[in-house]
């Protein structure tokens, strides 16, 4: 069963075609990477998946719900994290968690917050204002917010951007563990190719709003004759596919 199904999705802003007739699926329980350079259409695609943006055409189904007709049923079982969308900085971490606990109708909210604080090592910062945290702490708090409702589908936009290698590794380890324990489907947009290789079972390559390639990281490495995904990314970004394959 597919947790996310995208069919012929297109988004046009006047003269700009941001997403051009893309189709893909994310199988339930998989971690799927959405890769592409700046302006490739990753953020636009994620925004459409979250219902923030209405597609020009095409269809999105998340957890069996058509996002055009029934997005709130899906949104209750989804969540999202991005370093580019902040949490209210004057509220403490605990208050922020409580806000989203209410919004997502989380049962036994205080226990859930305590569990997330334990798992993501937030105990000491729970009662500090979100605006006073370091980048690494903010990322862990954003992740805790994204997991407050035990989402069945988690959309992550560059979840480890601006993190030091140690914290980035901790977050990746935690995401792997969470997916294994919960069976959650993760759609990950990232520029960190090592991260994508480590976390994703399937990768979708976007360029100029189109899907230009897809497959498992291993498939892509084999197909392009490369040793790491970064070179594959560069081959695609610079139209070197044929040269690389040759």
């Amino acid at each position: 069963m597919n947790a996310i199904q995208v069919e012929n999705l297109t988004k046009r802003y006047r003269d700009v075609l941001a997403v051009d007739d893309i189709s893909f699926v994310a199988p339930a329980g998989a971690t799927v990477g959405l890769l592409g350079g700046n302006g490739a259409g990753k953020t636009t695609t994620i925004a459409m998946l979250l219902g923030l943006l209405v597609p020009t055409s095409g269809r999105i189904t998340v957890l069996g719900h058509d996002m055009a007709k029934d997005r709130f049923a899906a949104l209750a079982r989804m969540n999202f994290s991005s370093p580019y969308v902040a949490l209210p900085s004057r509220l403490t971490v605990r208050q922020n968690m409580r806000v989203y606990g209410h919004l997502y109708d989380v049962p036994c909210m205080d226990e859930r917050i305590a569990a997330l604080a334990r798992e993501l090592d937030l105990g000491e910062i729970l009662d500090r204002p979100a605006g006073q945290l370091s980048a690494g702490q903010k990322t862990r708090v954003a992740l805790a917010k994204a997991l407050i409702n035990r989402p069945a589908v988690l959309l992550l936009d560059e979840p480890t951007a601006s993190l030091d290698p140690d914290t980035g590794d901790l977050v990746r380890t935690w995401l792997e563990q969470y997916r294994a324990d919960s069976g959650c489907t993760i759609l990950l947009a990232s520029h960190n190719m090592a991260e994508v290789e480590r976390l994703c079972s399937h990768v979708i390559m976007l360029k100029s709003g189109q899907v230009v390639d897809r497959g498992s990281p291993k498939d892509l490495l084999d197909r392009y004759g490369r040793h790491d995904l970064e070179d594959v990314f560069l081959d695609i970004a610079r139209d070197r596919r044929h040269a690389a394959a040759a």
Binding site: L52, L75, M78, L87, R90, H102
Partner: protein, 266 residues
């Protein structure tokens, strides 16, 4: 608690938590209404001292007008600024991808509007009573109907402001502070509609606030309750609110089409 009410409470809790942690915001709520009451209260006292009984009556209608206008203004600003707080904190992205429905967002903003209005206007009412012996509650139970109409009018205008912010982004922000003042001259806050030139009176009578203030003057000066004005205020409010809700619905959808929800704070 039903999920719908819990989501509304969740957003209200976010704002109440903000006020708990920010005394300047708390101070701001009561600052302007109290300042207004000081200025107009002393003006009313001066009129009463110079003109005797007519001055006393003029002063009473002036203070009543000031206090009731603040109800509309604080209701409108309470709703608009609560929405702006989400933009300022770059939090809208999280809110709009949560299961919170637009109608629940509006309900939470209205809830915050009521709280903010009471925190702003109640100190001014107490000040008027303590300093100038003007007791707004002598109007009796009809005061509740006046308040209700003025708040609904404030929400309708705020919904229009929020719609424009959705459409035009933070550039429309100044409207949150100034838009209602544009309606004040036509709302007959301090003078009857009959003072206005005849060509402006239809505009004035199209505003629910006008009927409340005409009703307030009738209650204060003649001791009668003008049910016709109250009924007109409720009907007009229904029309205004329906129009504002339609505009919000259109602009919210337009923002989802144009991508404005993603870049609204920029």
């Amino acid at each position: 608690m039903k999920p719908m009410f819990r989501r509304v409470w969740g957003l209200m809790y976010r704002h109440l938590a903000l006020y708990r942690r920010s005394w300047p915001r708390l101070l701001e709520l009561a600052y302007w209404p109290v300042l207004q009451m000081c200025i107009w209260g002393f003006t009313a006292r001066f009129l009463a001292a110079r003109l005797g009984n007519p001055g006393l009556l003029a002063g009473a209608t002036l203070l009543g007008g000031v206090l009731l206008w603040e109800v509309t203004l604080r209701s409108q600003m309470g709703m608009s600024i609560s929405f702006l707080e989400e933009i300022w904190s770059r939090n809208l992205g999280h809110i709009f991808v949560s299961p919170l429905r637009p109608i629940e967002l509006i309900a939470a903003l209205i809830g915050m509007s009521v709280i903010r209005m009471l925190m702003g206007v109640l100190p001014a009412i107490l000040l008027a009573w303590g300093l100038y012996a003007f007791n707004l509650f002598t109007l009796g139970p009809v005061l509740i109907l006046f308040f209700a109409n003025l708040m609904i009018m404030g929400w309708a205008v705020a919904l229009g402001v929020v719609s424009l912010i959705l459409r035009h982004g933070a550039g429309a922000e100044p409207l949150a502070w100034g838009v209602l003042f544009g309606l004040a001259p036509f709302s007959a806050v301090f003078y009857p509609v009959s003072v206005l030139p005849s060509f402006l009176r239809p505009i004035s009578y199209a505003l629910p606030t006008t009927h409340v203030f005409e009703g307030m003057r009738a209650a204060l000066l003649q001791g009668v309750i003008r049910w016709d004005h109250l009924a007109a205020a409720f009907v007009l409010n229904a029309v205004w609110l329906a129009g504002a809700a339609w505009l919000f619905s259109r602009q919210f959808h337009a923002a989802r089409v144009s991508g404005a929800l993603i870049s609204i704070g920029e």
